[in-house]
């Protein structure tokens, strides 16, 4: 039985912020080469074709479970989002698009949101999707696990009818913020009838998820791949286009590269091969590279200054250290030119909130030395002071960056003890024990700043043992007040100004400094079309992708 399509995606362009986003991104696309999408150019050639098997992969390992409540890292994010859907998605033009929600309306005071849900949607086991499913997810999944901080002001959630949900908040909630939660990385909707009364984190069903998405779970051959079959009862009757989807793991980047060359692999997301291999692969004429589709999950590498430690707690010392870092050298040498110097925690890929009008720290070792002298830290026997540098070596580049920073800091008289550590040890040292002076780490920034980006700078972001939060111990009442206002400001223009103020203060106090806006890329065979129709491709349902003959 084919289901009603309801509103088409194109009819569902949201008003407010999403329109502004689309316009801004279109402008940027014209001026910034890195937003140009080769696959989109190819996609314009023909109408979608049904059939075929798409083999997809990414630059990482097999997931521990196909769905992990709260995330579980990039691997389960990739495998779960083909089966489990969110209420909204942000497309490649950075506009909100309907998925399981067809309309989202705010009350005049922005304290209540009414979400109209798509009708005639079936779970893969044939049960109907209703408002009760969404209420269950808000109460038992999103609020306690995957979006607790974002939904902090949530007072009540209720189903007003079978396909309408009302969420009431104790404070005004900006529309873009709210929609970003609904389109958020981990706010997939799981079926209430299968999860209610059971622990969502340890439910064995997480290995064989049942959702509403375009792809149904087929088979998981551990160590090899997950096979998905087309959901013939998908609410968008035309989609998905291929008969089968395979997500397969090549843990070795060189093998992944070879698989793309031979055609065993159709599309690979999130930097599947080393940057130095891209040109060689593209020159074969069989593979195209695309850097779009990562705007809502922009990766950066950061240096974090522990405010509990003697020297780096001083702002002038941190600023001096930043002047000793040559970001161009880092990008050219460590990232093979695939990145841009970051100027603040808001990146160029975020046209809604980015500003270049922030304090900057150009590479100037003489100035760094002068600032340290002025701070009363002269060289004694060649060294001003010693620090411990922890490089979270979950990425090879982080370890290399640690080695570079050690040399750069020693050039200005700071003795460095470098520890390049594996994932678990890094997490413990940086986020549980706070045992470092300077740490090299990473984070991914979505378009909405609250709370993912802001919690690195706010006092309430300090939660011992919680990773990718404020581990530096930075606490500034002015910053807290600014973020509080950003969280409740519903006027888009005023909110943008607050975001710029946030960026400026973060770039002035520099407790945590994104050094490089890392460029993410997708590689695909030339017959794979429309692989990038989302601002976070790794979590896209791959409903739009099709295979040319």
């Amino acid at each position: 039985m084919r289901k009603s399509r309801g509103l088409s995606r194109r009819q569902f362009l949201y008003r407010s912020a999403s329109g502004a986003l689309a316009a801004t991104s279109a402008t940027l696309a014209g001026t910034a080469g890195w937003l140009v999408s080769p696959t989109q150019a190819i996609a314009a050639e023909a109408a979608p074709r049904r059939g075929g098997t798409l083999v997809a992969s990414w630059g990482g390992l097999e997931p521990q479970a196909l769905f992990v409540a709260g995330g579980g890292g990039s691997s389960p994010f990739m495998t779960s989002t083909k089966i489990l859907e969110r209420l909204l998605k942000i497309d490649e033009k950075l506009a909100f698009q309907p998925v399981l929600a067809t309309d989202v309306r705010a009350s005049s005071d922005f304290r209540t949101y009414t979400v109209a849900l798509r009708q005639n949607v079936l779970w893969h086991d044939g049960k109907p999707f209703t408002a009760d499913d969404v209420v269950y997810n808000v109460q038992e999944h999103w609020k306690p696990i995957s979006a607790g901080v974002a939904l902090k002001a949530l007072k009540r959630v209720s189903a007003t009818d079978a396909h309408t949900v009302k969420l009431e908040f104790s404070t005004p909630v900006p529309e873009f913020f709210f929609k970003s939660i609904l389109a958020g990385q981990y706010q997939v909707v799981v079926p209430k009838h299968l999860y209610a009364g059971k622990d969502i984190i340890t439910n064995p069903l997480n290995n064989t998820p049942i959702g509403t998405g375009p792809w149904k779970y087929g088979q998981w051959v551990r160590g090899s791949h997950v096979a998905y079959t087309r959901n013939e009862q998908y609410w968008n009757a035309a989609q998905p286009y291929p008969d089968k989807l395979i997500i397969r793991w090549w843990s070795d980047p060189a093998s992944r590269s070879a698989a793309l060359e031979t055609g065993e692999l159709g599309v690979a997301f999130s930097n599947p091969v080393p940057g130095r291999d891209i040109d060689r692969l593209v020159k074969t004429g069989k593979i195209v590279v695309d850097t779009k589709g990562y705007e809502n999950a922009a990766w950066t590498v950061t240096v974090e200054f522990n405010q509990r430690r003697e020297h780096v707690r001083r702002r002038e010392v941190r600023q001096a250290i930043l002047h000793a870092i040559d970001r161009k050298f880092i990008i050219d040498t460590i990232y093979f030119g695939r990145g841009k110097p970051a100027v603040s925690p808001i990146f160029r890929s975020n046209p809604l909130f980015f500003t270049d009008d922030v304090p900057k720290y150009p590479f100037d070792p003489a100035k760094a030395n002068a600032l340290l002298d002025a701070a009363g830290l002269p060289r004694k026997n060649g060294s001003r002071f010693s620090i411990n540098l922890v490089a979270a070596a979950w990425f090879e580049e982080n370890a290399k960056l640690g080695q570079y920073l050690k040399q750069a800091l020693q050039d200005i008289g700071i003795t460095v003890k470098l520890d390049s550590l594996d994932r678990a040890t890094s997490l413990k040292r940086i986020y549980s024990d706070y045992d470092y002076d300077i740490a090299v780490s990473n984070f991914t920034a979505p378009l909405e700043l609250v709370p993912v980006v802001t919690q690195f700078y706010t006092t309430d972001g300090i939660v011992k043992g919680a990773a990718f939060r404020n581990a530096t111990g930075y606490s500034n009442p002015a910053m807290d007040a600014l973020v509080d206002r950003l969280t409740v400001e519903t006027d888009n223009t005023k909110r943008q100004k607050l975001a710029h103020d946030f960026a400026r203060l973060a770039a002035t106090d520099v407790p945590l400094v994104p050094l490089v806006e890392m460029e993410s890329f997708t590689l695909s065979r030339t017959n794979v079309r429309r692989a990038t129709t989302s601002a976070n491709v790794q979590g896209d349902a791959l409903a739009d992708v099709w295979l040319a003959s």
């Binding site: 097999e62 995330g71 090899s224 397969r248 070879a258 698989a259 919680a466 990718f468």
Partner: protein, 330 residues
Amino acid sequence: MVTRLLLRRVLQAIPLLLGVIVMNFCLIQSVPGTLLDVMTAEQQVTDPALIERLRVTYGMDKPLWQQLLHYINAVGHLDLGYSYRHNLPVFDVIMAHLPATLVLMLASLAIAVVVGVAAGVIAAVNVNTWRDTLVSMLAVVCFAAPSFWLGIMLIILFSVKLGWFPVGGMTTIGMDYGTGVAGAWHAALDVLHHLALPALTLGLFYAATYARVMRASMLEVARQDHVRTAQAKGLTRRAVIARHMVRNAMLPVVTLLGLQLGTVLGGSIVVEAVFSWPGIGGVLFDSVMSRNYPVVLGLLVLSSALVIVANIAVDLVYTRLDPRIRTHAS
């Protein structure tokens, strides 16, 4: 007599396994970082109450000695524990990957033994000739080449350039093999097609070792009285080599085979990564990185048991190859 030997070896294995468990448990616990650190980081958990709930769920709220006793007791009841990271019993996690690893190990060892023994014999019977030099040189190359490099080179040549073999995996995904004997035959051929390059990569490394050992052993046996007697009896050169030299010279190779089973398991992990072979390598790597101790311990217990069983089997093979050992055992 052989039964008594077997029984003695099995009884000796029990304290050995217990020692493996205790030592590995202590080693793992001494490494910084815990499963809780990794899981809460990956799941973006910020609520202290939820972190505590997970600590209790993972059994990490109890003192270490209690965790150890609980684990030993569970293993005694053939229960390897539960992997909360996989939402599966540890045994199921391991069994999902172990068969593929065993297939790769056995195929590699078969290649290693056949190629290594043959090369060693050729080198020994042609000692100080160009054949001997060639075998020695090839052995050095195979031994020195890192398996990940050799694997990539084989992929580039045989998969990318020639297109003879697939880049990775164990089977052709989505292939319908059919049913019955024909289906099983096609499935086996498909696995062999995928197995060729990884087995060769791993097997050639060990073949190099066996070739060197076999050559030395053959040269030593060649000087022994029974070989001279066989030659004096007028047996052909081929008969002397096959019946009187190779069999005796095999003993060190068999010893090495038993000892190296653990190393082959370690080597297969690298090869599995290069060829995306769905073995335990990936799960072991992830479990070590995420401090998923139940799975790491389970794998160590099973691999230790595997090595112990292999060494018992080697002891039994000894008794078949060398009657003197059989007599001594009795």
